[in-house]
Symmetry: C2
């Protein structure tokens, strides 16, 4: 396999080209030719992808709740977005598929493409370490993350508000909890958001965070 073009496209050059070949070898081809398939690399690559995408989301969306982070991760780490990564780098020109598989290639193609992306992640990890796998993942999924975060209706209003207010220079944004009402198990918090000391909005919620998020949302609307 001449892997030069694909290595250029994914912006990673393998010391061990055999690893990349294995990552692109479907079980059908592996069985027919007595070589290793991508399955075990995919097993590991899947978990590397899950970890590093979670780490990225955790660090870049500090104001999202755990529930929203989980939703966002599910939107980003899915067959469909992995298929797009595979197509971007024209994996279909390289994947080795056996004769037995070629007949029903049509309905399995998407799954194979997604599997290969996960396998390539593990291959990069073994060849160049976790940092290189991370570079590949972020480079290729950043867009999908941004798209998902804007389209599944769970905007991080605090981050959006901050970006908007700091567009024309540094400002000081602060959130304060100004009221707590109700019994312990059913409290309502009220938060205010101020910019350079000036009150922008007030929001309520069942947790401190939700109240602040609500305040940011109202400030954005006004």
């Amino acid at each position: 396999m001449n892997t030069e073009k694909i290595e250029k496209s994914i912006n990673y050059h393998f010391k061990n080209k055999g690893l990349l070949e294995t990552a692109l070898t479907h079980t059908s081809y592996a069985n027919e030719n007595n070589v290793e398939s991508y399955e075990k690399l995919e097993f590991l690559g899947d978990s590397i992808l899950e970890f590093l995408s979670s780490k990225y989301l955790y660090n870049h969306y500090p104001n999202l709740t755990e529930g929203d982070l989980t939703k966002l991760r599910a939107q980003v780490v899915c067959e469909d977005s992995l298929k797009n990564v595979a197509n971007k780098h024209e994996f279909y020109n390289y994947i080795l598929v056996g004769k037995s598989e070629r007949a029903n290639e049509g309905n399995k193609k998407v799954a194979i493409l997604a599997d290969c992306v996960e396998a390539v992640i593990a291959a990069i990890y073994f060849d160049g370490g976790l940092d290189k796998a991370e570079e590949f993942i972020i480079e290729n999924l950043k867009e999908a993350i941004q798209y998902a975060s804007q389209h599944i209706g769970m905007k991080d209003y605090k981050t959006v508000l901050q970006e908007k207010l700091q567009k024309n220079g540094d400002v000081h944004i602060e959130y304060n909890i100004i009221k707590e009402e109700g019994p312990d198990h059913d409290k309502i918090f009220t938060a205010e958001v101020k910019c350079d000391g000036k009150l922008l909005a007030i929001g309520k919620g069942k947790s401190k965070k939700m109240a602040e998020m609500q305040a940011a949302k109202i400030a954005l609307e006004e």
Copy 2:
């Protein structure tokens, strides 16, 4: 919170004790006291655990198929085995639970214990890096992995055979594919296993690996 005893038990001492406290703070307590809960640490810790346990299995069971590795991982990374880890280190003495939660503590306790183990993994990761998180995971799940690998009926016969034969000194074990029959999409492979040149057994299977595994299994039985 006096975290000394728990740190001694898990064999990791935090630079930032607050991280460990957050990892042991249930949402109910967090909401009532306006502090951060373990939820987001758990989100990340879950993916770290998945990655590092997959890596361990990948490296330590080189002859298992991807399907068996996945089964094994599911047996090991589950609520029940995480609960055991939590109990071993007496997490129940430290977990902060709010008044609203204490009423229905009984039915949720197992989930909370498991969540806290995942959150503690992320806390160790942030405080001491991935290597320290890995040490904690392997130290605490090694036994569960060994137990699972022996009890879910998918022994790695090649590894078991090797261990048995090399007990009394170094021997040379080799596997050879000696026959391939049938059409490409439905091939049957025949493998032999030899020890220091002496034939031990012959096995058949739908892939090279399965034939070898079968040969090892028969050699063990004889």
